[in-house]
């Protein structure tokens, strides 16, 4: 992608694959691999917000971990601010980390219960003087709606929503250019979810950082993110402006996903005709045979789908991996 060299791109993911080793079937068998992500390409511009959506097992969390350098890429490249993640030494990576931070799904397991809020929030500020670090911590805490007197408290003294605010404060304290958030609101109740979403939007307006936002909830994605990448079984099937993708999904999987979204105010649904579901998981071996991974579920599947389609640009920022669109 040519734009990846422009200064306005904070993250570019190029033909990225992530795979995990499966347990050997026997002592002498060759190791088998599970392809979590295959050939993903997308980029996030400065101050932009991009969502990765897909069902469980679609590879969204593996992609986020690879971007954070927590999971090695088996092929392809991840460039953060123009630097190839794989070429960095551990020290260089640590240095770069202050520019990209992560917020995890579960605010109960992502905060060390034995550390005070001050220690949790200033931990990324290793080389900053203690008094300045404390000032910065107080500042970010006030931005997420907590106070200076919360600095001495411990995680168990806070509710789930407050903990997620603390996790966001910790991510903010280094003034990063990119925040990778893996399902940051899905463990929260709707009122608290709305408070955190409003906060994330305000902070972006104020600090101008970019978000890579991982979610399974299309309504949340539509609210927060301008652009969306739809993943299915580790492959990018559609990229575009969120509102346009939601209004007029091009890939059959995106169509299924958008249609399945429950909506407020649509009135009671008539029960649909009885569906038959196949037992067992869908086409585990699609990646091995090279067919379109969605083929077995797709209403439009045809012979041509035995060869996986590549991502084609439709114009206006929309790309789709389907032979029929």
């Amino acid at each position: 992608m040519s734009i990846s060299h422009q200064a306005s791109v904070v993250l570019s993911v190029e033909d990225l694959s992530v795979r995990y080793r499966l347990p050997r079937r026997s002592l002498f068998a060759a190791p088998e691999w599970f392809a979590a992500v295959t050939g993903a390409t997308f980029s996030v511009g400065k101050g932009a917000s991009l969502a990765l959506v897909g069902e469980s097992g679609s590879g969204k969390s593996s992609l986020a971990k690879a971007v954070m350098g927590l999971e090695p890429a088996s092929a392809g490249a991840i460039r953060l601010f123009g630097q190839d993640l794989a070429s960095l030494s551990a020290n260089e990576l640590r240095e770069l980390r202050r520019r990209f931070q992560m917020v995890f799904q579960d605010p109960y397991s992502s905060l060390d219960p034995r550390h005070s809020i001050q220690r949790i929030v200033i931990e990324p500020l290793r080389d900053v003087a203690r008094t300045e670090a404390r000032e910065r911590a107080a500042e970010v805490l006030s931005h997420v709606g907590l106070g200076v007197n919360d600095l001495g408290k411990y995680p168990h003294q806070f509710s789930g929503g407050q903990r997620q605010r603390i996790a966001i404060a910790r991510a903010l304290v280094t003034r990063p250019d990119l925040i990778v958030a893996d399902e940051p609101v899905s463990a929260l109740d709707v009122s608290v979810q709305a408070q955190v979403l409003n906060l994330m939007q305000d902070l972006q307006a104020q600090y101008g950082m970019a978000y890579l936002f991982i979610s399974h909830d299309l309504a949340v994605v539509e609210y927060l993110c301008e652009d969306v990448v739809v993943l299915y079984r580790g492959r990018v099937v559609e990229i575009g402006k969120t509102r346009e993708v939601m209004k007029d999904p091009a890939h059959p999987y995106t169509q299924e996903l958008v249609n399945a979204m429950p909506r407020l105010g649509g009135g009671k649904r008539r029960p649909a005709a009885k569906q038959k579901v196949r037992a067992g998981s869908p086409d585990e071996n699609a990646n091995a045979t090279g067919a379109c991974p969605y083929m077995s579920r797709c209403p439009r599947a045809a012979d041509v789908c035995r060869v996986a389609p590549s991502l084609r640009t439709l114009g206006n920022g929309r790309s789709v991996a389907c032979h029929f669109s």
């Binding site: 709707v190 709305a194 909830d217 609210y223 939601m246 429950p262 579901v277």
Partner: protein, 318 residues
């Protein structure tokens, strides 16, 4: 007469702060062929209400009020009488299908179990019925799949098995506690369609507990909103969602990211967080968080009042 009539249900729980009431004077009814949705955030008492109806609460919990099924008060039954009802006339669907199923028994065994316990069916008859149930919940090749173990199925299929178990004895009432919360959106759609179809085909009454108002909007005939263990608003789903009366219901709707929101529009949730049960205000439970609060709200607990036909709210400001 409605199938299920719950009157003045109060559940008291001993804690280190003394007795607290996760469910506080709750009354509602569910009729045959009706889907009633109980909605609210964590800690509002919706699951405790469901467990009280099933009489599955712990021994040290005090339950007051009446829970009548076809006129008979479930709270007066002995445990063995209750056992004869559970899984038979009333059954439950839980949120997490993997923990609701026994991992070391085949799905066939688990669907046959209520039939063998509650009916006089022979094993052969129960097996045939189980195959029939698997087909009804949309499992392909049921005669083959009946010997499968839960780990061999996907999450959506497991929830179908749990639904088949709940249906086995043709119950009058099914209590479903967040049945689709753990599932992917596309699978959630299939399971909701399945529940809708089952209720429309039979005269089952369904009590659907959920935190998701969009799900409520699509499946429920009536909705009951709870906050702080109390009922804040009850009414026909379309009316409650289009014209909410109680500030808490308005906050729940305002908190939802929706497709029809103009770009850049902020969400308007209820401010603050749910207080601990022991700290619940003595007047209106929402008083400390409500944008419309006045002094009178803190003095006495608001009674449920009929504001529009079949649409009640417990708010003195309505």
């Amino acid at each position: 007469m409605a199938l299920l009539e719950v009157e003045h249900l109060t559940v008291s729980l001993p804690t280190s702060d003394g007795w607290v009431k996760p469910v506080d004077d709750v009354s509602f009814t569910v009729s045959r062929g009706e889907i009633l949705s109980i909605v609210g955030e964590s800690g509002c008492g919706k699951s405790t209400t469901a467990l009280a109806v099933m009489r599955l609460l712990a021994e040290n919990v005090r339950i007051a009020g009446q829970i009548r099924l076809d006129g008979a008060d479930l709270l007066q039954l002995s445990e063995s009488e209750m056992c004869a009802l559970r899984g038979n006339r009333i059954s439950m669907i839980f949120q997490e299908p993997m923990t609701a199923l026994n991992p070391v028994k085949t799905i066939g065994f688990q669907i046959m179990e209520p039939l063998l316990v509650h009916t006089s069916m022979s094993r052969t008859e129960a097996r045939e019925k189980a195959i029939d149930l698997l087909a009804r919940v949309g499992i392909d090749q049921p005669a083959r799949r009946i010997n499968a173990y839960p780990h061999q199925l996907s999450g959506g299929q497991r929830q179908r098995i749990v639904i088949a178990m709940a249906l086995a004895c043709e119950p009058d009432l099914i209590v479903a506690d967040e049945p689709t919360t753990a599932l992917d959106t596309t699978v959630q759609r299939q399971i909701l369609d399945l529940l809708l179809r089952l209720v429309s085909e039979t005269s089952i009454a369904l009590m659907l507990i959920t935190h998701n108002l969009a799900v409520v909007s699509e499946v429920a005939d009536r909705v009951m909103v709870m906050y702080g263990g109390r009922v804040t608003e009850t009414g026909p789903t379309g009316d409650v969602l289009a014209h909410p009366i109680h500030p808490y219901t308005k906050g729940l709707i305002g908190a939802l990211p929706r497709a029809d929101l103009p770009p850049g529009e902020r969400l308007v949730p209820v401010a603050g967080v749910v207080p601990r049960l022991a700290d619940m205000p003595s007047g209106c439970a929402l008083a400390d968080r409500c944008p419309a609060v006045i002094d009178a709200c803190r003095r006495a607990r608001p009674a449920e009042r009929m504001i529009r036909p079949a649409h009640q709210a417990a708010c003195i400001r309505a």
